[in-house]
């Protein structure tokens, strides 16, 4: 197989295991490209991509923009904070206006879950979801699994625990789908208030105790405490959260085995993860960032190859 089964990347839910492997194999080639003295290929030189960010982002946006530029695409950026959305324009109107400027692909982050799916039913361009509310963040899950594959050779059969705020996390949901499709076993761990009620229905077990979870796993993915999404108090204090669910060096050293520590960023140092862990060899946080560019290049390249060339 050498073609994706979908025309948009809206979520891991909508793609197959074969799609994920194809993206990984393509990313291998792009990883070689971005380590060359000249890190650019001309594949997407006749493609225009709009990055629509209706919600703040640093890492994802830079990563997408870099991936697009390394593929030689033309890029336009849009952020809601400085746009006519503030004047009351609807999503479809905003996007259609941008598309009438002949844009081929849209990379979109939006605070509402399902915004990407909604848009894909109304416009022709190929859409990449860069995070929609607490729903999905597919490229993050892909780069996380790719980083596990790089460090541990394979994802299948590995045990992965996702620690922290599962309820508000699109990273968690996408990761769960991706890991399960690739044959890994997934547990979640965190305060009961931050665990969604449906979690067991999607085949994920819950572990209350962090130490038992870490003893069980090969990989721990530490999520950020998303203070900005918490409308009520989900745990008594940050200090208490750190005591129960924060990972420090002493805890890792006492496990009797070496586990891989991941974090999607941005890190709250000293809250979910201490500095000595974040900067240790067990952590692959910076590898994740580097792999993010290769994965996004692969996704954009594979989706672009499905847009038929138009002579006009």
């Amino acid at each position: 197989m050498s073609e994706l089964s979908v025309n948009h990347l809206l979520g891991i839910k909508y793609i197959s295991e074969a799609d994920i492997h194809l993206i990984f194999e393509t990313a291998d080639h792009f990883k070689e490209v971005i380590n060359r003295p000249i890190k650019k290929v001309p594949s997407l030189r006749d493609i225009t991509i709009a990055n629509l960010f209706f919600e703040n982002s640093t890492r994802t946006r830079l990563s997408f923009e870099l991936a697009e530029k390394r593929l030689s695409a033309d890029v336009i950026n849009f952020s809601a904070a400085s746009s006519s959305v503030k004047k009351g324009e609807t999503l479809i109107d905003t996007v259609n206006n941008i598309l009438s400027m002949k844009v081929d692909m849209v990379v979109m982050r939006h605070p509402n879950p399902g915004a990407g799916v909604f848009l894909s039913k109304h416009i022709n361009a190929s859409i990449v979801n860069a995070g929609d509310g607490a729903h999905e963040h597919p490229t993050q899950a892909l780069l996380d699994c790719y980083s596990i594959r790089e460090r541990l050779k394979d994802v299948a059969g590995k045990k992965v625990v996702i620690v922290g705020d599962i309820l508000h996390s699109r990273v968690a949901l996408s990761n769960i789908f991706a890991l399960q499709k690739l044959g890994a076993e997934v547990k979640v761990c965190g305060p009961k208030t931050l665990i969604p009620k449906y979690i067991e229905r999607i085949g994920v077990s819950y572990e209350k105790n962090l130490r038992s979870a870490l003893e069980w796993c090969d990989v721990a993915n530490m999520l950020r405490v998303q203070n900005e999404r918490m409308d009520i108090s989900y745990f008594p204090s940050t200090r208490e959260y750190t005591q129960q669910y924060g990972v420090n060096k002493a805890l890792l050293d006492s496990l009797g085995k070496e586990i891989v520590v991941m974090h999607p960023g941005p890190i709250n140092r000293g809250v979910e993860i201490t500095s000595d862990v974040a900067d240790s060899k067990q952590a692959i946080i910076l590898e994740q960032v580097q792999n993010g560019v290769a994965i996004r290049m692969a996704v954009l390249y594979l989706l672009a190859s499905k847009i038929q060339h138009n002579e006009n």
């Binding site: 050498s2 073609e3 393509t26 060359r36 003295p37 290929v41 594949s43 847009i307 060339h309």
Partner: protein, 179 residues
């Protein structure tokens, strides 16, 4: 479908030795010369030439790289089949080196055009030459000609030239396939 033998094993070996000798004439000790096999099928020829030069002609330490041109092709999104990438492996810088591109068949010249762009990612070579086992005359889309050729072939467009290598296909031979 019919096929005709263009070169048998003996003829392939004679051509390889001649190409090796021609390379030595121009590149002597290969001190500043690197061989670049073009993916996917040029690498078999490049590996053969390297081992021939090293074993039969006692030239030491020939640098060989594999270049994949998929992301530099000009027919992206234009073909019916999606393009599949291969590995690029170039562990040296080609800055100020004499580069010899090695490929099995030269047809339209578009792959070589892509390779000329792709190699720039690894530096600015002093010069670039092209070596092909088979040169399909009269089928070029671009002004590109080989510097070293094993055999020149007249083939019409619907015919296909297939180069077989013992390590990959079980025999050394070149076929003209008429489908």
């Amino acid at each position: 479908m019919s096929q005709k033998v263009l070169l048998n094993a003996t003829e392939v070996h004679i051509a390889l030795h001649r190409l090796a000798c021609q390379l030595i004439e121009n590149h002597d000790t290969f001190e500043d010369t690197v061989l670049i096999g073009l993916q996917p099928r040029g690498i078999f020829l490049a590996k053969r030439l390297k081992s021939l030069l090293e074993n039969d002609y006692k030239i030491k330490n020939i640098q060989l790289g594999h270049l994949d041109i998929t992301f530099f092709r000009d027919d992206f999104r234009r073909g019916e089949k999606p393009l599949e990438a291969n590995t690029t492996q170039i562990n040296f810088i080609v800055e100020d080196k004499k580069v010899v591109f090695v490929d099995d068949v030269l047809y339209t010249g578009r792959s070589i055009r892509a390779a000329l762009t792709a190699i720039q990612s690894f530096g600015r070579p002093e010069e670039i030459e092209l070596l092909t086992l088979i040169d399909r005359r009269f089928s070029r889309h671009l002004p590109i000609q080989p510097d070293y050729r094993g055999r020149q072939v007249d083939a019409i467009n619907k015919e296909k030239v297939k180069v077989c290598w013992e390590e990959q296909d079980g025999e050394d031979a070149v076929y003209l396939i008429n489908s």
